[in-house]
């Protein structure tokens, strides 16, 4: 591995030169490096890779900006003379910067330069070199990343610099990773068996999939004690991974359940509490998602610094917009249909067609881009679990919405009136409750909650006119499975279906898993014809 050798040569160089950087001596090197840099523009990826290796082998840190620019795709070649520059868009076409001196080098027209192409393999090569270069950087975070990169590479050439770096390392976390990286590199080296046995122990203590793959490599390529040790470590890791696998399924299940809960919770009100077979529920969710899109679009165009708060702005807006559409629908259509629940199905189905087409006419039929704010991007590790932030926040959000709704229904006068009206309309009316307004507001509440669900769902799904259609059936299943008219049922129902689905999926596959869940619902309803949380009692005569 000539690349690695040259990298570590470079590393030594950087060390020697320290922070002073360029000296007069280095200045002379530039002339020697220039052709190497220009060579980057010649040939295909194989050739470029060779040139990258040659650059690194030159052992001069001035090539670092060049490599960085190459990785980012900012390196261009001037067609006229084959000179390579770092170019950024500006002026008539591009502003050119000399990659070695990082000085301005004039401008070039759009057609005068062409980009030096880079692909994933090149990026990996550059990353590896960057990583190793920074093993002794001042910032411990950078050192940590560097150690991880070296671990991934598992290159025996890295052993010595790594050991050198280890001696200087003061940060415990970084030290740990460096030791793991050393073990990984050691296993691939020609050192003695006792060292390797120790390394196997170190690797086994990591206990994740990377460690597993390393150990499998050892098991398959060695004999005797080493092989046994590796095999034993593998069994141990596999066992713990299987356990984590179950934890992962539960997490995924809860996450899916929270999505189902969000999709269904508005319906639990309009359908569950009010008895309106609301086929337009999905469209209310969709409208919430489009509100998010519009808010983000406005923010992108006029106030980009607000982007991380876009969801907080979208939430109340989505609630208000979906909610007022809900109120309008109730006043305009639904209120004529009380006592004829099946006709609400017909009217709201028509309504859902109209809303879909309206959105399609307004925004076009294609998906709209809704971005994740910074705090909803990425993931963190919990043991062997990868937990993505957007999923986590959606679970939290779903539970908050649920709790908030419970609070509104149980603790506020509005909630009391709602329950009174839905249980005994005449009695409520005679007690002075303005039932028509309670109806309208309850329907508005359900629709508004569908709207804020849309804000959350826009973070994980398509924002298109079909968004609502994808959730409507699942929502009805959840509400009915949980027991119509019971919010706790909706919560438990959503979580149960989510977890069941996720436990089936690894064995049955996504399609069969879903089929099994549906069959499960059908059979469950046979057992409990009124859902999970049905209330027993002297049933009201039909």
């Amino acid at each position: 591995m000539s690349l690695a050798r040259s990298l570590f040569a470079l590393l030594g160089l950087v060390f020697l030169l320290g922070v002073q950087g360029q000296s007069v001596q280095a200045q002379e090197n530039l002339d020697a490096l220039r052709p190497l840099v220009n060579n980057l523009a010649k040939g295909k990826y194989d050739e470029t890779q060779r040139q990258v290796e040659a650059l690194v082998a030159s052992g001069d840190p001035v090539v670092v900006p060049t490599l960085k620019a190459l990785r980012a795709g900012d390196l261009y070649v001037r067609k006229a003379d084959g000179e390579v520059f770092i170019a950024t868009k500006g002026g008539k076409g591009y502003l050119l910067i000399d990659p070695l001196t990082t000085e301005n080098a004039g401008e070039a027209g759009r057609r005068d330069v062409s980009k030096i192409k880079v692909n994933n393999r090149l990026r990996r090569v550059i990353d590896a070199s960057m990583g190793s270069l920074t093993l002794m950087a001042a910032d411990p975070k950078v050192r940590l990343a560097a150690a991880e990169a070296v671990f991934k590479a598992g290159d025996p050439e890295g052993l010595e610099p790594l050991e050198a770096a280890l001696q200087k390392e003061t940060d415990d976390d970084v030290r740990l990773v460096m030791e793991q990286a050393r073990a990984a590199a050691l296993l691939n080296s020609d050192r003695g068996d006792s060292d390797k046995l120790e390394a196997i122990e170190t690797i086994a203590s990591i206990g994740n999939r990377d460690a597993l793959s390393l150990l499998i490599g050892v098991r398959d390529s060695t004999e005797g004690a080493l092989q046994e040790a590796a095999a034993a470590a593998i069994t141990k890791i596999e066992k713990s991974l299987a356990m984590w696998g179950n934890a992962q399924n539960i997490w995924y299940g809860i996450s899916l359940g929270s999505v189902l809960l969000l999709a269904a919770i508005g319906l639990a009100i309009t359908f569950g509490v009010m008895g309106v077979i609301n086929m337009a529920h999905g469209e209310m969710v969709m409208i919430g998602a489009y509100v998010t899109f519009v808010v983000q679009e406005l923010i992108r165009n006029s106030a980009p610094w607000l982007f991380d708060y876009s969801l907080f702005i979208a939430l109340p807006l989505a609630f208000l917009i979906s909610g007022s559409i809900g109120v309008a629908v109730e006043r305009g259509i639904i209120r004529w249909l009380y006592g004829r629940p099946l006709e609400t199905l017909l009217a709201t189905w028509g309504l859902s067609l109209i809303l879909q087409q309206a959105i399609r006419s307004l925004f076009g039929p294609t998906n709209q881009q809704v971005g994740n704010p910074e705090w909803m991007s990425g993931a963190f590790e919990l043991g062997q679990l990868t937990i993505t932030y957007n999923r986590m926040w959606i679970i939290v959000f779903a539970l908050l919405v649920f709790a908030g709704l419970m609070l509104v229904l149980k603790k506020t006068p509005f909630g009391l009136f709602t329950r009174a009206v839905t249980q005994n309309r005449r009695m409520a009316a005679s007690m002075g409750i303005r039932t028509p307004w309670i109806d309208a507001l309850t329907f508005g509440l359900g629709s508004g909650i569908a709207g804020i669900a849309g804000v959350a769902l826009s973070q994980i799904d398509n924002v298109s006119p079909n968004l609502g259609q994808g959730y409507i059936i699942d929502s009805f299943m959840v509400v009915v499975f949980g027991g119509v008219g019971n919010l706790w049922g909706t919560l438990v129902g959503a979580m149960t279906l989510g977890v069941v689905n996720k436990f089936l999926e690894p064995y049955a596959g996504a399609v069969l898993g879903k089929i099994f869940v549906l069959v499960f619902i059908i059979l469950f309803i046979q057992k409990r014809p009124r859902g999970l949380f049905a209330l027993k009692g002297r049933a009201v005569e039909a």
Partner: protein, 432 residues
Amino acid sequence: MMNKLTARAASLALAGLMGTTMISGALAQEETIKVGILHSLSGTMAISETTLKDAMLMLIDEQNKKGGILGKKLEAVVVDPASDWPLFAEKARELIEVNKVDAVFGCWTSVSRKSVLPVFEELNSLLFYPVQYEGEESQRNVFYTGAAPNQQAIPAVDYLMNEEGVERWVLAGTDYVYPRTTNKILEAYLKAKGVAEEDIMINYTPFGHSDWQTIVSDIKAFGSAGKKTAVVSTINGDANVPFYKELGNAGIKAEDIPVVAFSVGEEELAGLDTAPLVGHLAAWNYFQSADTDVNAEFIDTWQAFIGDEERVTNDPMEAHYIGFNMWVKAVEAAGTTDPDAVIDSIVGVSVPNLTGGLSSMMPNHHITKPVLIGEIQEDGQFETVWETPGLVVGDAWSDYLEGSKDLISDWRAPMSCGNFNVKTGKCGGSEG
């Protein structure tokens, strides 16, 4: 019987209504050449197909500015088959029988094409089908201007294998015919290249699948076996957005496990935050970023036509561009829009494609195309990282499938057969 009379009146009224009301647009004064556009404007496929309807309207508009064909203006007849497959057949029949169109541009999904095939055969009309598909078909009345598997999937795998050194493969797709067939072909191809059984993972998901957590984590696990891994995605349009979102959030970077997709184009990316996806790949025959004058002009015309500076172009649009121009050229060469004459004259016709070459209609009714591999960029565009040295001829019958490797297609006389079996020396589809 008086009932008979009323019934006749009713049925006539019914038929009459259909006949007169279905011609869209104002009643033309002069004689026009009618072109049918059969793309879903509602339902699940509207998301992809509406763009193609607009693209066709633009192409027809442009042609009319140039004076039409054979001295006549073109008139577009638009119908909405509403993503309902049997409705495609009905609407195709309506276009041909009632509206008397001379050619139809349309369909996206395989099933919609399968649904209309018998109609075009029976009524002997022309269909230009603009989307990449699974192959295994060659029909006299249909022109396949999208990619066959050998014009998309195989070059993409070659690229990953040779340029990125991939050794382990996840073939992930939506469970329908195109991914099934493509994956079958790829599996056979990879095994022929020496990839072991356990280094291939095949996974299917339902349409519109939105919860990708399990699958993404499976891919992650599969990819941590020490060998360079890539995902070949034949996941259908709608399901891609949640898939990529999950991928991005799970921290799977293109440098670790690149994903090459065959159904993700500029339009799909427009609905995504592409920042976490930079470096993932797609294989197409056209990218909006193609640096040619003809493409720049096409994009300008399109954005002006649609009135949106941000609107993107994509591969199926280029396919319609090529197909439409081929039809125009063939009609001009034949001097008539008669389907039989056009079918004869169109084979061998070459028109410029948007990537700077000339695409030709081959005797098997597929066309020649360059294959481009592009990387997703931050701005939602693709950057071509690799392309085939020359044009690739679309292969109707895959060489990697048991049933079809002996079949060839040639619609020129005297063979005039879509599925000629070179072993038996017989045209497989016809009797005897």
